[in-house]
Amino acid sequence: MRTLVQPGAPLQPRRLLEWAAPASDLRVTLAGGQDLLRGLVAALAAKDVAHAGVQVVAAEIARMAYLTGAEDPSGQRVATYGPPTWLEGPVTLLGANGILGPGPDGDTLLHCHAVVVDAEGRLHGGHLPPGDCLLGAGGAVALVTPLREAAFAASFDSETNYPLFQPTRISI
């Protein structure tokens, strides 16, 4: 198994785990014509949900971009994102997982990766940048698991030289 030398010293512990209290899950239906990630963040904010695990179970997408990994030519990090790949719809979402929490600037961030199939039946998948996934008329459905007492919050990670979601105790 190949490992990579990270730009910063290894941090301990190697595995972080915090216990969150169970809460009722939410099934969210998003209407078409809005951005998938921004629409989900806004819909959940209106329900006072800012920390959650998310499964997008269905979406019909009119136009979208996704990013895949690449080596970082600057050498400042072991991997970065390549240029976006744009897909014209109809694109059908097959599965997506997301983590919702406060980002490095305090705004709520939905970190989401998705696998989709394009209009010609080709599979695609990667990281979804916010604002670049316009839902078609069919909209989307997501199953949201709100997190209480502990959740993810972004902070700078000196080992990888990225701001990353870290398990954190919260007062909700």
Partner: protein
């Protein structure tokens, strides 16, 4: 003779908010995190992360995908106790490499090092 179906009654309990740091193996790190916190039965509720390189199994086929920066697109699976009672993870999902090729299968043990991070939500399963 094997029963056509067996049932285990139970309910979902607490949620584990987990992060795995770089170069740790996906399957064994999930198992170790569970063992460290006394979690023997769980299901994956959500996960976002990346791998240095990936090795997936699909039946007899072994799919080797070179990275770095392989995105984990979807992750599903369970943690269950093995014969000795230790948590054992069985994880499957889809990934994309740097050329945006998508692959799917079960993640092989000791072959899927985390690249930048794995953010994972597990929910404990409490057998009745």
């Amino acid at each position: 003779m094997t029963e056509a179906a067996t049932f285990e009654e139970g309910r979902l309990g607490r949620l584990a908010v987990v992060r795995i740091r770089p170069n740790e193996d996906l399957v064994t790190a999930v198992e170790t995190a569970c063992r460290e916190h006394g979690l023997t039965h769980a299901v994956v509720r959500s996960a976002v992360g990346s791998l240095v390189d990936a090795v997936l199994e699909a039946g007899e086929k072994v799919i080797q995908v070179p990275g770095p920066g392989i995105e984990i697109l979807t992750l599903a699976g369970e943690v269950r106790p093995d014969a000795s009672g230790a948590p054992q993870a069985e994880l499957r999902g889809t990934i994309a490499d740097g050329k945006a090729q998508v692959y799917g299968g079960c993640f092989r043990r000791d072959a899927n090092p985390i690249c930048i991070t794995l953010e994972l939500v597990l929910q404990e399963w409490l057998p009745a």
